[in-house]
């Protein structure tokens, strides 16, 4: 019953999204008030239908309805309830339903909070979102329906959720990641609408900014959670593998970062217009490309989804349609959007231009490395591109970016007088290099990369604080200083400090971690990085859906007992699958990490053991949380709320005198 209902709701959602993509757009062209007004209720209906459908699937998981193929494959009657809930998005079909639901969530947010756009533009944006929705919902219905039945021969019990996904990180990682991925659909729809209307003013950019920043912040959290999950759940102890599925999320992140910065220029200076539009279009296209790579199974990846050629073909056609339409519109309409480039070499504009060039090159490097195996296959070679390629090339644009990051935020728009900055910047640079050298010496053995990384981190942080002080120099007390800052200024500073916290974490973890693969027996102890690990006892456990062997280790330092760690080797019954459950003691400056390999003799008292002492690894994710926090702060800036539909055209005229403008008819 619920399966049929969920299915009907999906069909209904498809009809609604077709209406949404046609009627408001038509209305906006034909000046038909009724059709224009249909946009909002249609969007609400689309969301409601998808939400209902999602609830049906959740219910099916909750009552263990194994007559539904998707539930039967990914759940089990013994699965704990919270994992039954997260199993809804544990595999392809359900996760795409979640994806589509989140997409419609963004659409409804645009319908409710996008009122600062002129009425016609507003409904055009919703209409474009409706078109994208058509693609998503038909993908669900025609290639990946989560409500397909197993009748008449349904299984007595389900195949169980992949044990790797039975984990807290996986409950929240996909929703946040999808919030980011599909959030870029909003800036895409804004850009398409601007191209249709032939107008892309600073106000358009201002209206787009909070949406882009929001999507970016969610994507940041999503990527971070993926990295964290890989660290503790895959049992490898690494935090980034340059795996295609990671790159699939990192590519739009890089491009989205470029977009955020370029939007700032278009907003404040009414320039970089064509460039910003191109980035808006490409960021969402790259999100879709990432989806294609992961969900079609064309790339070998640690977590590829079920590969079904029909799905790959569908996404590829959809991608071609989206990119093709965007490209055509851009080619024929973007000439209407004129840019005046008027700034000197030393200006915020110039530095943001360089920021964009570097971020786009970085995007290209990662994209190239990810797609190269596919390209090579076309000419009949099997190649793989691993960490060595990325590690040798990716730092180059990043180092340049961090150097610029210490200067750019301090500059004025258009033109800056070099003499006012020279002295403080030289001071900051000297302090950072000296402190960077000192701290890299304190950290242990000297590595040039660590010193470079730490110096750059200090350079950016000190300059950020210096800038905060400059921006609020007229206020006396700290609290007055803080409250005088705008959301944008505060958010920018927090995010920039976040990115260098991550940088510091990356270099310290990469160079100062100790990692050992060992053969250990009960009673043995090993000394690693000043910590003594001794293997105490082996226990056997039986849980609802798995059996486990647990090995207890005592950790001490300088003869003093610190804590016990208890890594497990689990055997999941339904899938007959073995899982490594690492035990980690997280800390501010180091993580202690133990994962079990396998029992090396029949008595079960000798094990292969992986012991890591990871320096400063939490900083990598802490920095990402700061970045996202910065994004949310920037989103709250009052400027975005002050933007009203009535003065949409007017503000742009007073503030920046666009070369191209035509009156926008209100409704």
């Amino acid at each position: 019953m619920h399966a049929e209902f969920g299915n009907y709701l999906l069909v209904f959602a498809l009809c609604i999204s077709i209406c949404l993509s046609v009627f408001p757009m038509w209305g906006a062209f034909a000046n038909n008030r009724q059709l224009i007004l249909s946009a909002k209720p249609l969007t609400v209906l689309l969301f409601t239908a998808l939400f209902g459908s999602f609830i049906c699937l959740v219910y099916a998981f909750y009552i263990d309805d194994f007559t539904i193929a998707y539930v039967a494959q990914n759940s089990n009657s013994m699965l704990p309830d919270r994992y039954k809930f997260s199993a809804v998005w544990g595999a392809h079909e359900g996760s795409f339903l979640l994806w589509t639901l989140i997409f419609s969530g963004w659409a409804i947010a645009v319908a409710l909070f996008g009122k600062n756009l002129p009425a016609k533009s507003h409904v055009r944006v919703l209409s474009v979102l409706g078109m994208i929705g058509c693609g998503f919902v038909s993908f669900l219905l025609f290639t990946s329906n989560p409500f397909d039945r197993t009748l008449p021969f349904f299984p007595v019990d389900g195949g169980d959720l992949n044990p790797l996904l039975q984990d807290f990180g996986l409950i929240i990682h996909p929703p946040l990641l999808y919030m980011g991925y599909v959030g870029f659909a909003v800036s895409f729809a804004f850009a398409i609408t601007a191209l249709i209307e032939g107008e892309w003013t600073s106000n358009w950019a201002r209206a787009t900014r909070p949406w882009t920043i929001a999507a970016w912040s969610f994507l940041t959290l999503g990527v971070m959670l993926g990295s964290w999950w890989a660290y503790y759940e895959l049992g490898w102890g690494g935090w980034w593998f340059w795996d295609p599925s990671e790159n699939a999320s990192f590519i739009p992140w890089l491009s989205g970062t470029a977009l955020m910065h370029s939007l700032a220029v278009t907003d404040k200076r009414n320039s970089f217009k064509g460039w910003t539009l191109a980035l808006s279009l490409s960021t969402f296209s790259l999100s879709l490309l990432g989806t294609f790579l992961i969900r079609s199974g064309v790339l070998t990846s640690v977590h590829a989804f079920a590969s079904d050629p029909a799905r790959g073909r569908f996404i590829l056609i959809f991608l071609a349609l989206v990119v093709g339409t965007a490209l055509l519109l851009f080619l024929f309409r973007s000439s209407k959007v004129k840019t005046k480039a008027d700034f000197s070499e030393l200006s915020k504009d110039m530095f943001l231009l360089l920021n964009n060039i570097l971020l786009v090159s970085a995007t290209f490097f990662v994209l190239f490395g990810t797609l190269y195996p596919l390209l090579a296959e076309v000419i009949g070679k099997k190649m793989s591109v691993g960490a060595p390629y990325f590690n040798s090339i990716f730092p180059i644009p990043m180092i340049l970016l961090f150097i610029l990051l210490g200067v750019g935020p301090l500059l004025n728009w258009k033109k800056h007088d070099a003499s006012t900055l020279k002295k403080p910047l030289i001071k900051i640079a000297l302090i950072s290099v000296v402190l960077g050298l000192l701290s890299s010496l304190i950290a242990g053995e000297f590595y040039l990369w660590v010193m470079v990384g730490l110096s750059l981190s200090l350079w950016v942080s000190i300059s950020s604080f210096y800038n905060l002080n400059l921006m609020s120099r007229h206020k006396k007390t700290l609290s007055k200083k803080l409250s005088s800052l705008s959301g944008t200024q505060l958010g920018m500073t927090v995010a920039h400090i976040g990115v260098v916290v991550t940088l510091a974490g990356v270099v310290l973890t990469s160079f100062h971690s100790e990692e050992k693969d060992l053969r250990m027996a009960i009673g043995e102890s090993k000394e690693i990085a000043g910590y003594n690990f001794s293997m105490k006892e082996v226990q056997d456990l039986t849980k609802d859906n798995y059996q486990a062997t647990r090995v207890i280790f005592d950790v001490s330092r300088n003869g003093e007992f610190l804590l016990s760690l208890a890594p497990e080797k689990r055997f999941y019954l339904a899938k007959r699958q073995i899982m490594t459950e690492a035990d980690i003691d997280a800390g501010f400056h180091r993580d202690l990490y133990i994962a079990l390999g396998e029992a090396l003799d029949n008595s079960g008292n000798v094990w292969s053991v992986r012991i890591y002492v990871k320096s400063f690894i939490r900083w990598i994710w802490g920095g990402a949380i700061l970045m996202a926090l910065g994004g949310f702060l920037a989103m709250m800036d009052k400027r975005y709320r002050k933007l009203k539909a009535e003065n949409f055209a007017k503000i742009s005229e007073d503030e920046s005198k666009p070369i191209f403008s035509h009156p926008v008819e209100g409704d």
């Binding site: 595999a91 640690v302 977590h303 079920a306 190649m383 591109v385 390629y389 899938k575």
Partner: protein, 156 residues
Amino acid sequence: MAMKLHRKKRLTAIIASVFAVSIVVGLVLYASNQKMNLFITPTEVQAGIAPLDRIFRIGGLVKDGSVKRSETSLRTDFIVTDGVADIKVTYDKIMPDLFREGQGVVAMGKMNDKGLFVASNILAKHDEEYKAPEVLDALERAGHPVKKTAQDSKGS
């Protein structure tokens, strides 16, 4: 004067972007030349196609009865086969959970001068039903067509 300045700026911009693009392309070509790993099947290794000085990947099945573990260290020796040729492989780190005889495996490493493949990394997949495309490819190239099921892999 204004015109000249404008032209000069445009020229600078064009030169700068050409410069930037060539740097980007140059870097990619440099890195890709050095850092990409070719995938080679055991048959091809035996035919002498394998590069001796570079890291590459081999794939196939772990031969039944070939796995030998050391008594004192983590060292494991085994044979990777595509049904036609056998390659001896040694590895001294922790084996992935799904490593076992008769299963598919992808190993990354270098040939030493004794014809032993010293693996620096063994790739394993999460799912028992999953076979890496490389393994399938190696088996197919050696003349063992493997039927691909619709659901080769699961996960997220």
